[in-house]
């Protein structure tokens, strides 16, 4: 469903992402981890079509994002880390707008919008302008918008930011169910327990390169540790000197 082949992204002399190759098949919930500034958001933005790769190809549902952007983007739902929305629209109008620009219209749309607003628990404020929503409410609305056109690939940047525990639990459940229906979720997160509990496979990016990718067991063996704790594995695979400092201080 998502395939990246030799993707590079350079900003002047700085390599934000280097030779990233990755394949996330249908039905998989893939976690993308890395320290701050490792290239997670850059990768996510390239998959969402907001940034152009300097080299390499990105395929979504079998369509090359560069040469067939319309088909590739039609299969994509994107949830950014910061929910900038059209503040002067109501929740319902916003969802209708998103459905419209994806070419969805008429048949069953209103029912689907109500269903989604019910799911993200915004049905009671459906006619309120978005400008009056809290950060968490906007984040939930973005989530509903990402599902409105029934995408096959969902790309999510930091899903837990600004959500209360109830919202976070809702997101976990929705993502899991969505993948179980044969769709794909690519999620970047700092919340390691979420990644550990939720993701089928995890990729770890450091300084723009993928240093490890696999299931928890595979990462454990890659990190040559017996500990079944993603935090320890993450620190060992990404930390270097930093990991030693954490180890020394905990000793």
């Amino acid at each position: 469903m998502i395939r990246l082949t030799g993707v590079d992204k350079r900003y002047g002399a700085r390599d934000a992402v280097k030779g990233l190759s990755l394949h996330v098949p249908a039905g998989e919930l893939f976690g993308f981890l890395g320290p701050n500034g490792a290239g997670k958001t850059t990768t996510i933005k390239m998959i969402a079509g907001l940034l152009k790769p300097t080299a390499g190809d990105i395929f979504l549902a079998g369509h090359n994002l560069q040469s067939e952007p319309v088909k590739a983007k039609a299969a994509l739902g994107f949830i950014p880390d910061r929910p900038f929305l059209y503040e002067k629209l109501s929740a319902t109008e916003f969802l209708r707008f998103v459905a419209g620009i994806y070419g969805f219209d008429g048949n069953g749309l209103e029912g689907r919008i109500d269903e989604l607003l019910e799911l993200v628990e915004l049905i009671h404020v459906r006619s309120e302008l978005i400008e009056s929503f809290s950060h968490g409410m906007k984040q939930r609305l973005v989530m509903a918008a990402a599902f409105v056109h029934q995408p096959r690939v969902l790309v999510v940047d930091e899903p837990m930011v600004g959500l209360d525990p109830k919202g976070a639990r809702l997101i976990k459940r929705v993502f899991r169910e969505y993948c179980d229906q044969g769709n794909t979720v690519f999620v970047s997160t700092h919340t390691l327990e979420v990644a550990q509990a939720l993701c089928d496979r995890i990729g770890i990016i450091v300084n723009g390169s993928l240093v490890a990718c696999g299931t928890m067991d595979e990462l454990q063996s890659r990190a040559e540790t017996q500990q079944h704790d993603l935090e320890q594995i993450f620190l060992k695979l990404t930390g270097g000197e930093g990991f030693k400092e954490v180890q020394d201080s905990s000793d």
């Binding site: 950014p80 059209y86 400008e131």
Partner: protein, 569 residues
């Protein structure tokens, strides 16, 4: 929060603003430098124009000794009242963002900074931000008074000591009004209210000045009407108004008389008292207002059925993508007071524009056939320029108005071309209506010939497409997605480039249009049919005009589309 404070604390709170300005200057790119240079040139040209106008007026008044003193007094008083009013209105609006909505306030209010120190620093920022432009434009006016005064330096000294307290009073009273509004109404409501009041204020000012027909001043036979003019135009002068104290000082300075002590004392003591009162008020109600600014209020009824139903019915005929963008753009426009309030300014512009034609001398229709048609032709250029000015406010910002929500369009399967053409077709109908109304109505008032009326209507129809194409295309080439207020977009470097491009385009169309108009009207005047050479020239020029309009749509749309598609967000 504590209430004891020192001058050093106020200074420390002002340092970041100064440093921000300095850093902005250091990192200014070529685009920014271009913008600054262009702004400086326009300001200088406008300043010279204002200076010239006042200089000529004062010299002219000086010729009529019996009227000189009262007229000069009246003009100075009008200027002072105008400065005070504009400073006050500007302070009320500026104080809202400086005292209540700035991002850095959450850090400062939660820190142990004494409230009076915070308030004093914000008052200084409000004074600087709200008055620099007014003071800048008052320089040529006061310079004209100084140059024509018997004692220029003494007049300038009077300005130097009489104007600053006026600025302080306006700022302090303005921020007190804002504080009181904030303590009573929710922040969003206050903001909308102030924007609306600001727009109404400008509209009122335009009407007030225009209906007094200041062009009468240029008519040498109307000097006796001038006194009447100023009597009717006179601001509500009151000895209690600080502007009248400033006027008294300035008059004394201009006449080389000793500067009066009473107005000076009144001005400075009132300025000091208003600052103290403002600080005292802030202690009482600032935190209440600041808290209200942080709260998000439930939105009002978001949809108005009498607007929404016809709008949806109208949009229903279009395909889903265009319909969605159209509905979103129209709804955002009518719900955003910063956008729709500009319609009031537009309305004022149209009324003043048509009024100008309606008050042309009654014997104008007896003017020569040539002059009448020449005016009609020049009117076409004026209408084109007005259209460009309207488009820089409404069409050019249409891409940037997506703001930081542009990621939604960008990550969707909507192509850049579909997106831009949707903006184009959304902008064309309202501008077509405006341009046709302006052209038909002004030609009617001018009594232009049927040929000129039709030629103007067809040309302005073509120009409208060109202007919208330029607006959307250049708006896409120079987008500004991060803004506080959508009105800022028109004043960006891209907005200035658009105005230059649109004016050049209108001038080029008129240049080529002049050939067919000249040949046709000459033939009409001489009562002979058009010869084949003239026909060929007319055909060639009209083809060029059509081509120019096609290029004005196609080139910017293509270039802007490419720039926008290549842009990373």
């Amino acid at each position: 929060m504590t209430f004891e404070f020192t001058a050093r604390q106020i200074l420390a709170l002002l340092v970041p603003a100064g440093q921000g300005l300095r850093n902005q200057r250091h990192k200014a790119g070529k685009g920014e430098l271009f913008r600054i240079l262009l702004f400086a040139s326009i300001t200088l040209a406008f300043g010279l124009l204002v200076f010239g106008g006042f200089y000529r007026l004062l010299l002219y008044i000086g010729r009529f000794s019996e009227f000189t003193a009262p007229l000069t007094h009246q003009i100075l008083d009008t200027v002072s009242t105008f400065v005070l009013t504009v400073l006050f209105a500007s302070s009320v609006i500026t104080a809202l963002s400086v005292h209540y909505l700035s991002d850095d306030l959450s850090l400062l209010v939660s820190s142990p900074v004494p409230l009076p120190a915070l308030h004093a620093s914000r008052l200084i920022m409000t004074a600087v931000q709200s008055s620099w432009m007014v003071l800048l434009f008052s320089v040529p006016i006061y310079s004209a008074f100084a140059v024509t005064a018997p004692a220029p330096w003494q007049f300038l000294l009077a300005v130097a000591i009489g104007l600053p307290p006026l600025m302080v009073i306006a700022t302090a009273v303005g921020s007190m009004v804002t504080s009181m509004l904030m303590a009573v109404f929710p922040a969003r409501r206050v903001r909308e209210m102030l924007i609306l009041l600001g727009a109404l204020f400008v509209v009122l000012l335009v009407f007030l000045i225009r209906v007094q027909q200041p062009e009468k001043l240029l008519n040498p036979r109307s000097i006796y009407d001038v006194t009447e003019f100023f009597t009717s135009f006179r601001s509500p002068t009151s000895p209690m108004l600080p502007s009248s104290w400033t006027t008294s000082l300035l008059i004394a300075g201009r006449r080389a008389e000793p500067l009066l002590t009473l107005p000076l004392v009144l001005l400075w003591s009132t300025a000091a008292a208003s600052v103290v009162m403002s600080s005292w008020l802030a202690r009482g109600i600032y935190l209440r207002g600041y808290t209200s600014a942080q709260e998000s209020r439930p939105a009002r009824l978001s949809s108005l059925p009498f607007i929404d139903r016809p709008l949806e019915a109208l949009a229903g005929v279009f395909e889903p993508r265009f319909r969605s963008l159209l509905l979103k753009d129209v709804r955002t426009f009518i719900r955003d007071s910063t956008q729709w309030s500009q319609l009031l300014l537009l309305l004022a512009l149209v009324v003043v524009y048509l009024y100008n034609f309606s008050v042309l001398p009654s014997n104008f229709t007896f003017a020569t056939f040539f002059l009448q048609n020449l005016f009609s032709f020049l009117n076409l250029g004026l209408a084109g320029f007005v259209l460009s000015a309207v488009a820089v406010r409404f069409v050019f910002p249409s891409i940037s108005a997506e703001g930081r929500a542009f990621w939604i369009v960008r990550s969707s399967p909507l192509t850049t071309s579909q997106f831009l053409w949707s903006k184009f077709w959304t902008s064309v109908p309202p501008l077509l209506v405006l341009s046709q109304v302006l052209t038909w109505a002004s030609n009617h008032f001018l009594g232009a010939s049927a040929f000129m009326t039709v030629l103007s209507a067809v040309t302005i129809l073509l120009i409208t497409f060109g202007i919208v194409g330029l607006g959307v295309g250049l708006g896409a080439a120079f987008p500004k997605f991060k803004f506080e207020n959508v009105t800022q977009i028109a004043g960006s470097a891209g907005g200035l480039i658009y105005m230059i491009a649109a004016s050049t385009f209108v001038a080029a169309v008129l240049f080529f249009e002049a050939f067919p108009a000249y040949f046709y009207l000459s033939a009409q005047y001489r009562g002979v049919p058009l010869d084949s050479r003239a026909m060929m020239i007319i055909g060639g020029a009209m083809t060029i005009v059509v081509l120019l309009n096609i290029l004005a749509v196609w080139l910017p749309m293509r270039w802007g589309g490419r720039r926008l598609a290549a842009m990373e967000i």
